[in-house]
Symmetry: C2
Subunit: 320 residues, 2 copies
Amino acid sequence: MARWNSLTKPPGSLGRLEELVLQLALAQGTERPQVARRSMVVFCGDHGVTEEGVSAFPKAVTGQMVANFLAGGAAINVLCKQARMETLIVDCGVDGELVAGTVDRRLGRGTANFVNGPAMSAEQVERALENGAGLARGLACDVAGVGEMGIGNTTAASALFCAYCGIGPEEAVGAGTGLDEAGIRRKAEVVGRGLARHAGVSDAVGILGAFGGFEMATMTGFLLGAAERGMPVVVDGFIASAVALAAGAIDARVMPYLVFSHVSAERPHRRLLEKLGVWPVLDLDLRLGEGSGAALAMPVLEAAVALYEGMATFGEAGVG
Amino acid sequence: MARWNSLTKPPGSLGRLEELVLQLALAQGTERPQVARRSMVVFCGDHGVTEEGVSAFPKAVTGQMVANFLAGGAAINVLCKQARMETLIVDCGVDGELVAGTVDRRLGRGTANFVNGPAMSAEQVERALENGAGLARGLACDVAGVGEMGIGNTTAASALFCAYCGIGPEEAVGAGTGLDEAGIRRKAEVVGRGLARHAGVSDAVGILGAFGGFEMATMTGFLLGAAERGMPVVVDGFIASAVALAAGAIDARVMPYLVFSHVSAERPHRRLLEKLGVWPVLDLDLRLGEGSGAALAMPVLEAAVALYEGMATFGEAGVG
């Protein structure tokens, strides 16, 4: 990346942008990284743990929001249009009818309640990982963003955070879509019961199957598949970061391929990012999911690459 | 802003983006703020204090970079193209020939060295403020960005920070374009000498004239003029924030019109933003100036307004 220091600016003065281009270059295995072709993949699925009353919204909202994605009325549609990104909505197991236009990778009508047993069977986890890797292999793009939709999935993400990092439930849960303090305490208690139920599970894939959602396991496979083909992925918020934790636990080599787009307002997210040892691009107090933070970070990546490609060198400009 | 809560997302989940739209709406005096027409104004000028050896780059670089701006090879050109912003380069007093294509608002060939006397005469400050306000009045845009170029102007900004906020020089200086620790100490000592020289000056305009640059005083006038006509302005890094301090000291009513784009890597910048009581949009470790951070924040503003305008309501989408 000697080129950065030849451009008409004080060395290092583009800070994080210089690092991002370096990361993209290493991920893509080239000195001239590309971000022109970009896709947002939104993984959707329902969660059995919603029957414990852990969300401010009813489970039916997952399917309704999938329909909203296809109709183009959701935040992620607006943001992907702004960022000129193709949007792919993947139904990984929503409890409802398949919405026309979604990519069908359904593994069931929502997961099982992890308080009573594993959220997924071993076979379902395996298929989810394969589905995700297949999607990553098939995508014609330079860089992907990943987001999710699934009522109940901050609870699953908190459980994964606890199980992978040895954090206590009280420190791992947040308000999700809008719980009050009593709701957050109940959510922590539910996560605690799940952790007790699956205390014997210690392998990375087993933990994912114990607590994760179909959308989370499929996204895990996507991250692993993307790393394998050298495609950097922009990771959204708390849930996608918990998925990155799962992917990293399965294969640590995935980490350099992941750009963490933002630190969200979901309370445990900052700590999760610290555990991952990463520095998010944005801090905008978002807590929406869908890939919204990843889409908002895309113009920053685009600008970084454009600067690297488009600025004059000291020699060209006669400066210095 | 009741509309935000009618859109298909948990209330408040777009965090900072919701606040930004509210700020733009209040600034523009409308419920439907616009950001379609946007301009970047880069104020350029030279500083007499450079003769104290306070910069890693020679003074001649100011004029060379102005030529680079006009040739389109600088970071700000690339970023404004990305953000689809018109770029206006204003020569407020560069020590060199006027470059064709710049807006001529020259007040001299650089300011005087503030260690020996006021950087500007009272008449020059007055003219700079008028020039800036006139530029703000004449600009056909919904939102402007402001940046600057001027070798030596982090020293002037540090001095203004000290004088307006009662901060000691050691806490107010940073590396600028790339000083080492010895250089930073020398810079603090120079700022200290300036402060001692102008200890008797206490009015807001007088302080600006004692230490500021022509580009900084003109930008101050621009901020005041923009507020007067209800045009929000996206403020760049450390130097532009010091200018915001000057503008706020002259007329506190300017503050709600200013969006602070980023916290830079220039050491005192975070503290300056805290003094202003503002939360920057981005934190990317930039330390370039030119308006680079303001241009990078523009897509965030654009996305915020697009979400506000383009998302479906719960009723339209049948969600909830």
